[in-house]
Amino acid sequence: MNCPYCNHWNIPGADTCENCRQDLAELDHPQASSKVEASMMESTLAKLNLKPTCIVTPDTKVGEVVAILQERKFGCALVGDVSNIVGIFSERDVLIRLADRYEESINLPISEFMTLNPEMLDINTPIAYALNRMSIGDFRHLPITKNGQLEGIISLRAMLSFLSEWYPDLIKSKMEPA
């Protein structure tokens, strides 16, 4: 990259210009190039539509958790308590880990089937960072905490919904008639 002050070439990521010693660190900060980007960097997860979710204790029986998911149409259940989530159990886990042995597993604790220590983000995190994590980490649900307490989950759909608000003429919201 070329130094904006003296046009001397420096290796990418250099903190200062080799030639004139000007500070180059600032150049590495991501800059928003559009209003959408600015909004993603400045808005926090509080702006997204957080969904309520259910929390079960690690010793809850598999059968009970499945019944909750079925009845309340949740895509996942969190395991632990409000201030200490230790696992997540999703529709995907139902298919992958439970499908062939549901009958014999029905009375086993959910802790044997859950995904341990799911990644969680604080509600004051910028939306852009959460989008990055969901995109790279292959997460469908991301539990969100506020002051260390579980506040809800965000889904890929909430993210799609946020992004589509920027193109209301192209992507209509669910509320409007088709």
Binding site: D15, T16, D23, A25, E26, D28, H29, P30, Q31, A32, S33, S34, V36, E37, M40, M41, G63, V66, L69, Q70, K73, G75, E91, R92, V94, L95, I96, L98, A99, D100, Y102, L121, T125, P126, A128, Y129, L131, N132, M134, S135, I136, D138, R140, L156, R157, M159, L160, S161, L163, S164, Y167, L170, I171, K172, S173, K174, A178
Partner: protein
């Protein structure tokens, strides 16, 4: 390229979609589910001959199959969603996003002019597509931006 331009002018075929996982509609529920588990498919498209006739997803497995008696040898067509929302493969991206968003669905099956399935577009693919249009913002951002010192010494 600008995201708005891409949404309006590129088709789902331009950005690429997953090839479809398919089974015939008389396949048993047991073997369909076994295949989904083995291959880690979140959804599978159901065929009648060569033509698309329905979709079966993880959610359908949870809500319609798990815990129900004597379903294993029944055909998958008993528990699939027939006549789901579908789209043709040269649909524009904004139209595909519209369908996913408005209908609250996770997978959109794509078909050709002979009604044969050619692939699926998922919400995940859609979100990745949108994220890819903001590469600098999305991929270079630290979790707490204020922790980057404004000056070299942090002062």
């Amino acid at each position: 390229m600008d995201l708005r331009f891409a949404l309006e002018n590129e088709t789902v075929a331009d950005v690429g979609y997953q090839p479809p996982a398919t089974v015939q509609k008389d396949e048993t529920i047991q073997s369909t589910v076994a295949r989904m588990r083995r291959e880690k498919y979140g959804c599978i498209l159901i065929l009648e001959g060569e033509k698309f006739c329905g979709i079966f997803t993880e959610r359908d497995f949870l809500n319609r199959v798990l815990g129900k008696e004597n379903l294993n040898d029944r055909p998958i067509s008993d528990v699939m969603t027939s006549k789901p929302t579908i789209a043709i493969e040269d649909i524009y991206i904004h139209e595909a996003l519209n369908l996913l968003h408005k209908n609250g669905i996770r997978h959109l099956p794509l078909i050709d002019d002979q009604h044969r399935p050619v692939g699926t577009i998922s919400v995940k693919r859609a979100v990745n597509f949108l994220a890819d249009y903001h590469p600098t913002t999305v991929y270079n951002l630290p979790p707490e931006p204020e922790t980057i010192p404004a000056a070299r010494d942090g002062g």
